[in-house]
């Protein structure tokens, strides 16, 4: 079966500075895949290349079709991208943020299903989203992404700035969505320990290239990966 998402020899640059040199990776339907690596290795750029937020070369195929390379068309093709900094509309209410998730969908957004995963949102619906805590904002971003009804969810550093307990909660919800809704997930994460616990497979990026890849279990027992990213 063809993969859901396939990057083949993708390069990207910010002005004169190259950030990705020929990255190839795949995500299958219903799979959680992690991208690990140090700061500046090109993790975020990989997601940005998929969404067309950065100029890119190479082929990116999603669901059998080449992506056209603008954030709008990527979203409409069925990819939800929760960007660095979560992309919450701080001045809008929680509820308005959620309604924006369903922007390109016809009919009423399926709030009931979302509230089943994020029950606390119901009591906070009129709160200004910018006043939520970091963890709550991350959850709101996830809920909003879920309302896009994507086939693939791309998460950029969901743990950033969150307490360990909150991070675990975020990954629990992601695993839940993956398991119950069959949602494929591509997650960029600095915290390799938690990422390798949630993901089935992972790619390790170094200076804009894929250095290692494999199943989460293989990577956990790989000595180089262990000393560089897991710290034991």
């Amino acid at each position: 079966m063809a993969p859901l998402l396939e990057l083949d020899d993708v390069s990207a640059r910010y002005g004169p500075i190259a950030a990705l040199h020929g990255v190839s990776l795949t995500v299958d339907d219903g799979e959680i895949v992690a991208i690990l690596g140090a700061n500046g290795a090109g993790k975020t750029t990989t997601l940005r290349a998929v969404s067309g937020m950065v100029r890119r070369a190479g082929s990116i195929v999603f669901g059998g079709r080449r992506l056209r390379g603008s954030p709008e068309s990527t979203a409409r093709a069925g990819i939800a991208h929760v960007p660095e900094g979560r992309g919450i509309f701080a001045e809008l209410t929680v509820w308005e943020n959620l309604r924006m998730g369903a922007y390109v969908r016809r009919g009423k957004p399926d709030m009931q299903t979302v509230l089943a995963y994020f029950p606390w949102l119901d009591t906070r619906r009129n709160q200004q989203a910018g006043t939520l805590s970091g963890g709550e904002q991350q959850m709101l971003a996830l809920a909003r992404a879920f309302l896009q009804r994507p086939r693939l969810l791309m998460l950029d550093e969901p743990s950033l700035g969150l307490a360990p307990l909150v991070t675990r909660e975020v990954f629990r919800v992601v695993a839940d969505l993956n398991e119950k809704e069959g949602l494929a997930v591509l997650v960029v994460e600095q915290n390799a320990t938690i990422a390798l616990t949630a993901a089935q497979r992972a790619y390790v990026l170094e200076t804009g290239k894929v250095a290692t890849s494999g199943s989460a279990d293989e990577l956990k027992s790989n000595d180089a990966v262990r000393s560089a990213y897991l710290g034991y």
Partner: protein
């Protein structure tokens, strides 16, 4: 007391005109951080189009006032969208200063073009309202003032309903707050910016058509009005649509009361006083009275 109420109604009518133009400025500022200096001239130009629709016969008959009014709003909407697509959009990646310079160029072009097409001399522009007044308890309330106030704030209200209750309005607000995130949700923000220019042009057309009966139609008719609108927008807070409307009304009332009670404030001093208010607000409370109350965390 009579004098006070008369000054108040005149101030509210003038203020509603400043309010709609101030709101037009805020609409564009909030979405792109650009002050549209051409806003007044766009209003003037569309008022000339209204004049042309009203005075010349088209296909053998002229339009009466209200059809002319709404046809003008439609044309203004189209022109606003067109200007954004043709002039502003190519500058998408340019600095804010570049875009501001482009709006100043637009100001000069529209001003010259209007004088070239319609000649620079003053023209009479019709008002849909009678020149009579209601007398309530000795207070003369001009029907013109009440009509101006009702029409202008009516348009503002319709726009508020759009932004508050429609999906597209919500998307425009979201796009103004965080365009990158909006695009990732599938919002075509570039078109929504054009839509914003369309709405701003419509508000301008309303303020132009409502000012013209009293200030007369001329290529420079909106220049003073634009400064009052600026003062109103700054007073209320450039980031706040409600602030712009309140600020515009406030400036109108304040100038009318000052003109009535402070004899030193002659009509010649209205502009300097507005600019003084603008300066004082910038010095004391740059965010304006309704300045963004957003709390950011995490």
């Amino acid at each position: 007391m009579q004098q006070f109420f008369q000054a108040l109604t005149t101030g509210l009518a003038d203020g509603s005109i400043y309010a709609s133009l101030a709101l037009a400025l805020v609409l564009i500022y909030k979405a792109t951080e650009v002050i549209n200096f051409a806003q007044g001239e766009m209003a003037m130009f569309t008022t000339y189009i209204a004049y042309a629709l009203y005075t010349h016969s088209h296909f053998g008959h002229t339009l009466s006032y209200w059809p002319m009014f709404f046809v003008t709003l439609l044309i203004a909407f189209g022109l606003g969208i067109g200007l954004q697509r043709v002039v502003i959009r190519p500058l998408e990646h340019a600095s804010v200063l570049t875009v501001v310079m482009a709006t100043i160029a637009l100001l000069v072009i529209l001003n010259g073009l209007a004088a070239w097409i319609w000649s620079p001399e003053l023209k009479f522009f019709p008002s849909p309202f009678p020149t009579t007044a209601w007398v309530i308890g000795g207070v003369h309330i001009s029907k013109q003032d009440v009509g101006t106030f009702a029409v202008t704030l009516g348009c503002v209200f319709v726009l508020w309903v759009f932004f508050r209750f429609t999906k597209l309005g919500l998307a425009m607000r979201a796009g103004a707050v965080n365009p990158g995130a909006a695009r990732l949700l599938g919002v075509r923000t570039s078109w929504l910016l054009a839509l914003g220019w369309g709405f701003a042009a419509v508000l301008g057309a309303v303020s132009g058509m409502m000012s013209a009966p009293t200030v007369f139609l001329s290529p420079n008719m909106m220049q003073a009005v634009l400064i009052f609108a600026f003062a109103g927008a700054i007073l209320g807070g450039l980031e706040s649509p409600i602030g712009a409307v309140a600020g515009g009304l406030g400036i109108g009332i304040l100038l009318s009361l000052l003109g009535t009670y402070v004899h030193a404030v002659t009509p010649e001093l209205r502009l300097p006083v507005a600019l003084l208010i603008l300066l004082v607000v910038l010095l004391i409370k740059p965010a304006g009275l309704f300045g963004s109350g957003v709390v950011r965390r995490g």
